[in-house]
Symmetry: C2
Subunit: 229 residues, 2 copies
């Protein structure tokens, strides 16, 4: 029995490590996608898209470890909650990886046309979004609901930058119809970053649930951020 | 022990029912959001947004039942996989509800301006997306991997309609700068519908996993559909 116990603890540790690895990979993808966009580096953009496979693989690994853990023995309430959260956090991170891939796709398209404008808000949004992802995982690992709440608050900054970006791009598009295609692509990049921020927010809401046993997501703290036009 | 067994079976049945209820609510929201958009009915749009609470509540209920089930006893491999899939399908459905809410937000904004054009592609996309959601849940309930694969194929039709919509709206925007704001909002609606199709696709990929024990998601069947501009 003691052996089973140790095996369980080891697997639980492996679950945490795999989730963190998944998180780091997703963070790195955001960083590289942004670099590809700002430096018009299509090779790098293509690498981000290819590397998404690795992220997908890590999500499957999380599912597998969770299944094993639950088959091993009946987990205690707290471990059970942790496992359930891991199962829900992994897809959020996988989706963040996908969004980095989407940014890279737009980067490739934009590199084929002249630059519309120097990018200012987008790198700032990306920095914020990336930090939110990192801090959300920190909060998860440390079971820190306070830290999680702080991350959730930051989402407002991402949303505010999106609003600003949106208005600026719209004015470019109104001034010059030739800018519409590029303006749209940059708006999409902004939207992807906004959704990365939403993903980090979702993770933090789960951390609060994990620690405090109550769900804040649906209490109205979180505004989806979708929808300016 | 037999009593525990029966209780477990009953809870498993309740899990299935709750998921289906969640799915029906999400489907209804898509339908109503579209009606609000096409009939410029802002009251209905607001109702869809308010009703999202109910969908959120159902997702929490799914989480709770899954937690209870796993605390009750060590589930068999097949039940375990079912529970894990339920935990992953519920957030997809909740997200679909959110997207219906986003469509409703755009519907309210669009109702304040003159109609840009008669809506043709958007209702067709919505019909397809809604059907994909319904069929994905059917496939889930019937453990039917074949049906799930058929739904995944339909996602191409949604993507093709999106492409068509995108090009048409772009030409409106190029012709008349006054159309840019409304064109953008309608593009967003198209994007939300595309993401609803993606959500149904995700559910179907999980059904295949549930039935066949292997994941097809990351084999390249699924293209995110994001990204025309």
């Amino acid at each position: 029995l003691e052996k089973l116990e140790r095996h369980f603890e080891k697997e639980l540790e492996r679950l945490k490590e795999t989730l963190l690895r998944l998180g780091s990979r997703a963070e790195l993808s955001i960083e590289e996608a942004l670099r590809a966009l700002t430096q018009r580096d299509t090779d790098l953009a293509r690498r981000v898209i290819e590397n998404d496979e690795e992220i997908d693989q890590l999500e499957l690994e999380v599912d597998q470890i969770c299944t094993d853990l639950m088959a091993l023995r009946q987990p205690l309430a707290r471990d059970l909650r942790f496992i359930i959260m891991a199962l829900k956090i992994a897809p959020e991170l996988e989706r963040i990886g996908d969004l980095a891939g989407n940014i890279s796709e737009r980067a490739i398209e934009l590199a084929a046309e002249p630059q519309l404008k120097p990018l200012i808000d987008i790198p700032r949004m990306a920095g914020l979004a990336r930090e939110m992802v990192r801090l959300s995982l920190d909060a998860f690992v440390r079971h820190d609901a306070e830290a999680a709440r702080a991350v959730i608050k930051r989402d407002d900054q991402v949303d505010a930058l999106m609003e600003q970006l949106f208005r600026e791009l719209l004015s470019y598009m109104l001034d010059d119809p030739h800018a519409i295609g590029r303006g749209l692509r940059l708006m999409m990049v902004g939207k992807y970053l906004e959704r990365i921020g939403d993903g980090a927010t979702n993770i933090c809401e789960m951390v609060v649930y994990l620690v405090e046993g109550r769900m804040i997501r649906h209490g109205g703290i979180h505004q989806s951020g979708e929808g300016r036009a």
